[in-house]
Symmetry: C3
Subunit: 460 residues, 3 copies
């Protein structure tokens, strides 16, 4: 069957419809958090807060902006490494994230910030919405180049929904700690995306293989994404931790883990090349695995050397994954993972969940202090039976729940996205901006194709 | 008349002269704000401030840095979309902004921070100087590619002066609220720039038409600018709001408006292309209109859904403007608007002024609380006659004053810039870095022109 | 002798060995600062701190993130100006910085944060580690394109060690003030790097001269580095100053100095070109000299006009250096300074040290207030003999110590790096990514070399 990639009515109507629904739901449900409401001056006096500085805004806003950069510039540019897919990488990431944050504000709001019939919005909601969309950006990496923007919006709609449910199960029912989202964001996002791309398997994808690689400057653009992700990851993992020492510690641990990860990624990249040369794909991706893998434990007493060890291991595993596992997944399991998210988010996410479970299970009052332990794990008077090993078990359970949600959810969403009317490109036109974008002349002539690729849809 | 574009003496002398004047005026007038002065330790004890954290620095500095990035990377790279004008876009923006912030510190200092014969500088002054220069960056977008750096410095000198006067009229005389500058920055900057480019109309600009478009990688560079503007706009609109809830609310509203704007921009861009393809110009620009249009109302109780509606509308209007209005302005009104600032800053700025007036006019104690309303609109004991509708009227008046100042100011400055000795390029050499920059060899050969364009100035 | 540039075992083993050592040393020595430890809740009650906001994290973290961006994106992209060395510029900078920060945490920790047998880590340590690595990035600029990543790791190991010793002498023995590191970072880093490159002199470097220049888009990538350095420099110079007015003042002074520096750099760049054209090298580098040169005095009462004067002078000297001094150093003194660090960090660093000494020597109680002076220069009850002129003398002594350490250290490290087995490239293969990186096809074909350059090592 020939697919029609002309999105003239489908994309505008999808965008407008979704946005109208957002406006209506925001109108019905969304108001300001007391810290962002004009009544705050009364609130402040009532709660006996001495300084404006104690407004939640000042605790979280700098971290929020760093996370925001990671989602839009970090993920957006990381995916520009493909030679002819830069517009789509940055542009579609922009589109899905802009929709996703709105829907996440609602979904997470209903589940976590619903008071007296209203969702109350503050800066922490903005961070959590960015986090939720982060998991969609991860999944986008698996299907990059093979889906239409309409498919991405549909995927975002469903994935944000499932993410929020999964997050609710973990944080509220299992009472798991996962501040940097090793489980909720990375594991969930990666295995969701991998399942979707497995369902969307394209046997003839080799037809656009020549475009599934980088050119010199596209690799440099991708490094902009890599570096902003790498630099701001300490903010990511500490953004929603408890005020004070927890935020402080999460930033330090993440900084350490990421530093170690760079050295082992470089080491493996060189060791696995027959002439000892480095591969940009590893430098762009595996160097970040350390941030993923301390996403759960960063706010705990993981210790700086613990963080180094986690980063050390993940740089190695992630690079090995790119060299050996990605080709295997594609050839044997029919999983076409464009950006190698299994190596950057999948395996490191699982490691992160395990590290978190082990770190939690070994927490004790000597390390944390009596009050510190209660504060770190939110042990209030009602939790008289809390033990560290129980916390560890629940952490492990959270990892399995995330994996299960990702696989089942990815299966359903993959089947929906397989429907033939979403404007997806033909196999020979994958990884090609010209399908969905008006391209400047120079590129067209460089490409030197006499026919417009949009006119040649082929059998799937 | 043949123009001479060799700036060897004109540019150095202009720069050095302006900088020497800055040094002298700073020497005579500029000192530190108490919060930045070494006497602060006494000040702190005297004002009974309990913590160093209550220094203004900690309330404003993170926002300042975000705004700083918007001015230099945001505006600078946004304009690199032209194929052969990247050096000038980034470089001249850098030059004019570096001069403009100094002159703005003085002008705004005399009008707002003048105490006992001295301008006292603190972090809020730095933000306001960046804001002021933002309006020059907007105007630069209209004349991009058609003026010399000397003309830009002259324009900056005058525009900063007029901006400061206009801002004084609005904020101090009309007592208007405009924290994110829909009126003072965007409306003023856009119509000022449009008037200047109207005066500088070049009937033979078609001679350099082939360079007035993008190439593939120049569009990606421009997306760096777009994204940093988009991501940090919540900081822009909240940077100088009152401490606490106002900053918090302004950030949330801007975040919401910008998110909605992306979806409607994409929708319209696709709907207006005959094959449903997206146009990078719209994605680079129209997605930002939502930030402009909540510049006045973001700190008010606009409500999240109100912000979404504003963003929704502006994404549509801005994209329509690029498709229909910009060609019309050029062909019928002889307004050559290189970057389409009318669509990104002009119309959204006016909408922002109107939204601000309406939001202010409908403010009431139920929404804000008694104390909250007084705090939000600076109603002190002397303003016994204040009513919301009066505030709304003054807001509307502020919009008209800004427009009038922009048109009259632009007219005068345009005439000055039309003088033939500023080193402006000939019509056939517009949008060309090689006029003012030493260009690397590769680019020269790509251009493959046997003659140096600087040797061929032609009749205007 | 033919050098072997195949790093297959040398680079991986170096990376893994260094990282294993880091893990062990961190395990033995590194713990959390009380502000980042889970016991903080007790600490806070014990020290009677009223708000979580008084955790050191909130004073320093936003500045830390800005500094982090400067080191990784700023320095990394600044050096991408070379046409075929972008991967190495960004990638090797990433590698050496990731190792350097770990080693710096240890070295600086032992010397400054060693309590009861442990190094205690907080956010200020992270900033100081980034600072230390900044001096390595500076030195990297001198040898860019001529060394292997193994050599860079060796250089980092030694330079971080020497930096920490030098910093200890200045800050703890001479009790010098140098918050922004004009002496410890820039002077030390620049003259260290220049000495190394002098020892590594390559008489036949002209063989790769055609690659030691930029192409159009590589210059735009470099501007990303320039702008992030320029914008965030106020954070750099204020990051570790005292809380409150000192941080505030340091940011303002740096902002002013950098603004002035842009105008004089542009002026000189145009004035020194026979057709008055601007040179991207000057815009990329000389515009930053103002930030270097207020690195010592920014936190002092330098006054805004004083900052403007410093920036004014440094823009001129730095641009003159690029035009006249760099060619002279290369042809006469056999110092091949790839990035011109002598102009950006060397001379401005020395000027910064002198400005700091003079500003300190002229400090008085009228300017600072009694308490303010004591606070600014850490004059406690034990320092009864402190005078401003004495402080000035010690500042000057600190400058000489830094220079001496740089020259002696550079000599030793240069000799070590001259050993023939580090995988350095042959003269004809300098400034070439393909030696150490797997390069995408397009670039290879553009380069159109039939032979792999790694196969043709030549006599040094």
């Amino acid at each position: 069957m020939a697919w029609n990639t002309n999105l003239r009515w489908r994309l505008p109507l999808t965008c407008l419809l979704l946005q109208v629904i957002m406006v209506i739901l925001f109108g019905v449900f969304v108001r300001y958090d007391p810290d962002a409401d004009a009544h705050w001056i009364d609130e402040r006096l009532g709660r006996n807060i001495s300084s404006d500085m104690d407004n939640e805004f000042y605790y979280r806003y700098p971290s929020f902006q760093d996370v925001h950069v990671m989602i839009f510039v970090g993920f957006g540019f990381l995916m520009t490494f493909l030679q002819r897919y830069g517009f789509s990488s940055v542009g579609f990431n922009f589109l899905l994230a802009a929709f996703g944050i709105q829907w996440a504000l609602l979904m997470q709001g209903w589940l976590h910030s619903f008071h007296s019939g209203y969702i109350v919005l503050g800066v922490e909601n903005l961070i959590n919405a960015d986090f939720c969309v982060g998991s969609v950006c991860v999944a986008f990496g698996a299907v990059l180049g093979k889906v239409s923007p309409v498919q991405l919006l549909i995927m975002t709609l469903f994935q944000v929904t499932l993410f929020s449910v999964n997050e609710f199960i973990l944080l509220n029912l299992l009472e798991v700690k996962d501040a940097g989202g090793s489980m909720t964001i990375h594991t969930f996002g990666a295995y969701f995306g991998l399942t979707v791309t497995w369902i969307l398997y394209r046997p003839n994808l080799y037809q656009s293989k020549e475009r599934q690689s980088s050119v010199y400057h596209s690799d440099l653009f991708a490094m902009i994404g890599t570096l902003f992700l790498w630099m701001y990851w300490p903010s990511f993992n500490s953004a929603v931790s408890h005020h004070g020492d927890a935020q402080h510690r999460a930033a330090i641990n993440t900084y350490c883990s990421l530093a170690a990860c760079v050295l082992t990624s470089v080491a493996l990249s060189s060791a696995l090349h027959k002439k000892g040369k480095l591969d940009m794909v590893h430098i762009q991706n595996a160097t970040l695995a350390g941030g993923v893998a301390v996403g759960t434990a960063a706010e705990m007493m993981l210790m700086p050397y613990g963080s180094l060890i986690v980063g050390f291991i993940c740089g190695i595993i992630s690079t090995l994954g790119f060299v050996y596992l990605t080709p295997f997944l594609e050839s044997r399991l029919r999983i076409q993972d464009t950006c190698g998210i299994h190596n950057l988010h999948g395996m490191p996410g699982i490691i992160g969940g395990i590290v978190g479970a082990v770190t939690a299970a070994s927490a004790n009052t000597q390390q944390y202090g009596q009050k510190g332990l209660a504060h770190a794990f939110d042990i209030d008077a009602t939790k008289t039976t809390w033990t560290a090993s129980m916390q560890g078990s629940f952490q492990a359970a959270g990892l399995f729940v995330s994996l299960a949600m990702a696989l089942v959810g990815g299966l359903i969403v993959g089947v929906i996205l397989k429907l033939p009317f979403w404007g997806q490109p033909a196999d020979e036109n994958c990884f090609e901006d010209a399908i969905y974008w008006e391209i400047p002349e120079d590129q067209k002539s460089l490409v030197s194709r006499s026919e417009d690729p949009t006119l040649r849809p082929t059998e799937p």
